[in-house]
């Protein structure tokens, strides 16, 4: 998986560096110098990396990068399903912020996640939703005065 991933990511970086070189080479020296100074070595490094991945023997891991690793305790198909589920929840959160604004999305999201995803009891769900909404309202809206966008639906309705 990691080896395939290296190829995918290299391809992604190849596209990015190619795009930057193509775009920045048409700019003035002052504007384009720094992006080119980063993109050209990036392109070279990615090409070397691709060559090594495709034609060189498998890597012997010595002194791996300083980086976390995901747990492998869950079966891959279940893990994949859960990844899609959580990213869907996150995307839905953003979509609802866009549609109905932060103040309404917060209790709605907490309620729905606790009830339908985490299968928490009704009483706990309602209590936790109320607490989180109270915390959000008191801290961010009353104390820190953060101006949250209203969302397109309330704006459209003139609320």
């Amino acid at each position: 998986m990691k080896s395939k991933g290296h190829l995918y990511f290299s391809a992604f970086l190849l596209v990015i560096s190619g795009y930057v070189i193509f775009t920045a080479s048409r700019w003035s020296f002052k504007t384009g110098f720094f992006p080119l100074a980063a993109a050209i070595p990036l392109l070279v490094l990615v090409l070397i990396h691709l060559y090594l991945e495709l034609f060189a023997p498998a890597e012997v891991s010595k002194g791996p990068a300083v980086e976390a690793e995901f747990s492998d305790e869950v079966a891959p198909d279940i893990a994949r399903r859960r990844v899609i589920t959580i990213f869907s929840w996150i995307a839905a959160f953003i979509l609802f912020v866009y549609l109905i604004g932060f103040p309404l999305t917060v209790p709605l999201f907490i309620f729905c996640y606790l009830k339908f995803q985490s299968d928490v009891t009704w009483l706990s769900t309602i209590t936790l939703t109320a607490i989180s909404w109270g915390f959000f309202y008191t801290l961010f809206q009353r104390l820190v005065y953060i101006q949250f966008e209203a969302g397109v639906i309330p704006t459209w309705l003139g609320l």
Binding site: G5, V66, A68, Q117, S132, F136, I146
Partner: protein, 501 residues
């Protein structure tokens, strides 16, 4: 001078100044826990409240708040993998894995104690540096600051795998970070770069949504996939013992904590270097301190040294930041630029007067840093046991609240829906990077340092042509950079000779 030093202490201990410092600390504690709303933003919000205070009260209030936010920012980084302050992301790299390993108490104890030691060293540096800082700061022009930034970039060697492909991946990520830093308006000519026609990108990518997305979202996804608590099914840690162990770790690795604090002070003193740089350089230095590849492999998977280094640097930087702010009116960071506003409101002019006429006020700042950090750490230690229990709560109950913190924190960066989209995109990128083994820290380092590198490079070339490359200090810094790059390989030599790539 000694009289002023003591007078400074009494200024802070006056009941009104002390009470205001406690109020500021309370605010800083809450703000530090919330991702996105950094100490700088809170300083800006609180500046209007200092109009009726005298200088000692105002600085006790503002600095008490700011220094505490730097300390408590590490708490959410460790417990949830969400950088409490946008720039305290380096603590996440080893702090959160420690929590996942059932060592949340130890990580928190280490973070708090190293923060305290760092803060004390920062305050001491501030007190000692005041008479001697002028020649140091004036020695560092743009070429030297450019080389310092390049040393930061060179730290990528330490953060990447030591194999050929590991180094390529690390440097590729660093270069991607540099490229991301070029998004937005170019500072010299004002031209727009890679803005995709979006006004949101004119100012470039804000660090908070990027850092929160790239570090917090992958951890949340992993938590959702595991379906357990953050600490998993590991037996509950003896929290008191864990916290105590973390405190002992600070003194076990005291020399490392001291060196990382020195890194923080130095980066703080250099105007414009920013807080994130100090943390990442300290983290890279902590990794460099590994004895061999076996020892090094523990970083990123929950090594306490990866918490101690950034924790110390994050707080020592505060003392360093104040040095150029007080001595020259040149702010060392965004937060210090806001604090300068406080100076103006108080009718104080940073510069020679602060080192002569108002020396007691200057020393009151040193004392505020010391006292606020001691009180915070003592109070935090009292509640750490309860905080660490959070890592044993079922993931399904934690995720929606952490997601809320993540997105509200990101939103506060610019108050724009696009902040959430940036967080999401970098969350996906961070997830794929972890999944496929591409390191995230070099990308962050490139992004944090990119603007500085470009700015200082242009000023150096415009001012000196290429003659700056022959400046003695630049040559010294080039040699130092070479040492930073080569050092991990030299330490690794026996392993490489024994059949590496």
């Amino acid at each position: 001078m000694f009289d002023a030093f003591i007078d400074g202490l009494f200024l802070v201990l006056q009941w009104k100044a002390f009470a205001l410092m406690l109020v500021g600390m309370g605010l800083g504690f809450c703000v530090g826990l919330l991702p996105g709303i950094g100490g700088a933003a809170t300083l800006a919000l609180m500046i209007p409240f200092v109009f009726k205070m005298n200088p000692a009260e105002a600085f006790a209030f503002l600095l008490g708040m700011h220094s505490v936010a730097a300390t408590t920012g590490d708490i959410t980084s460790i417990l949830f993998g969400v950088p409490g302050e946008g720039l305290s992301a380096a603590t996440v790299v080893d702090g959160y894995p420690m929590a996942k390993n059932g060592e949340a108490g130890r990580a928190l104890g280490a973070a708090l104690m190293s923060s305290l030691v760092g803060a004390l060293i920062g305050a001491l540096a501030l007190a000692l540096a005041i008479p001697i800082v002028r020649p140091l700061v004036l020695t560092f022009g743009s070429p030297e600051l450019f080389m310092l930034s390049m040393i930061g970039i060179a730290c990528i060697t330490s953060l990447s795998g030591l194999s050929v492909r590991g180094q390529i991946r690390g440097f590729a990520m660093g270069l991607l970070g540099l490229l991301l830093s070029t998004i937005g308006q170019e500072r010299q000519s004002g031209s727009l770069r890679f803005d995709m026609g979006l006004m949101y990108l004119w100012e470039g990518l804000d660090l908070v949504p990027v850092l929160v997305g790239i570090f917090a979202i992958p951890e949340l996804v992993d938590l959702a996939v595991r379906g357990t608590s953050i600490a998993g099914d590991r037996p509950a840690e003896n929290l008191s013992r864990g916290v105590m162990e973390g405190i002992k770790d600070t003194f076990r690795h005291f020399w490392l904590v001291f060196r990382c604090s020195a890194v923080g002070v130095f980066v703080g003193i250099m105007p414009g270097a920013g807080g994130g740089v100090a943390q990442w350089m300290a983290y890279a230095h902590a990794v460099q301190s590994a004895k061999d590849s076996k020892d090094r492999e523990r970083f990123g998977k929950g090594d306490v040294r990866g918490v101690l280094g950034p924790g110390a640097a994050n707080n020592s930087k505060e003392g360093g930041d104040l040095v150029p702010t007080i001595a020259f009116g040149v702010p060392g960071s965004g937060a210090m630029a806001i604090l300068l506003g406080g100076f103006m409101i108080m009718g104080l002019v940073p510069g020679p007067d602060m080192l002569s006429k108002h020396l007691a006020v200057t020393y009151s700042m040193v004392w505020t840093l010391v006292i606020a950090n001691i009180i915070t750490v003592v109070l935090s230690l009292a509640v750490l046991n309860q905080l660490a229990k959070v890592t044993y709560i079922r993931g399904g109950l934690i995720i929606p609240f952490v997601l809320l913190l993540v997105f509200v924190g990101s939103y506060t960066a610019n108050g724009h829906l696009a902040d959430l989209i940036v967080t999401f995109c970098f969350g996906v990128l961070g997830y794929l990077m972890v999944l496929w083994g591409w390191p995230r820290p070099p990308l962050v380092l490139g992004l944090v340092l990119g603007k500085l590198v470009e700015t200082y490079l242009f000023i150096s070339v415009s001012r000196y042509g290429f003659a700056w490359l022959a400046h003695p200090l630049v040559l010294f810094l080039i040699a130092l950079m070479a040492v930073v790059i080569v050092y991990p390989f030299v330490r690794e030599k026996p392993a490489w000779a024994g059949g590496g790539e």
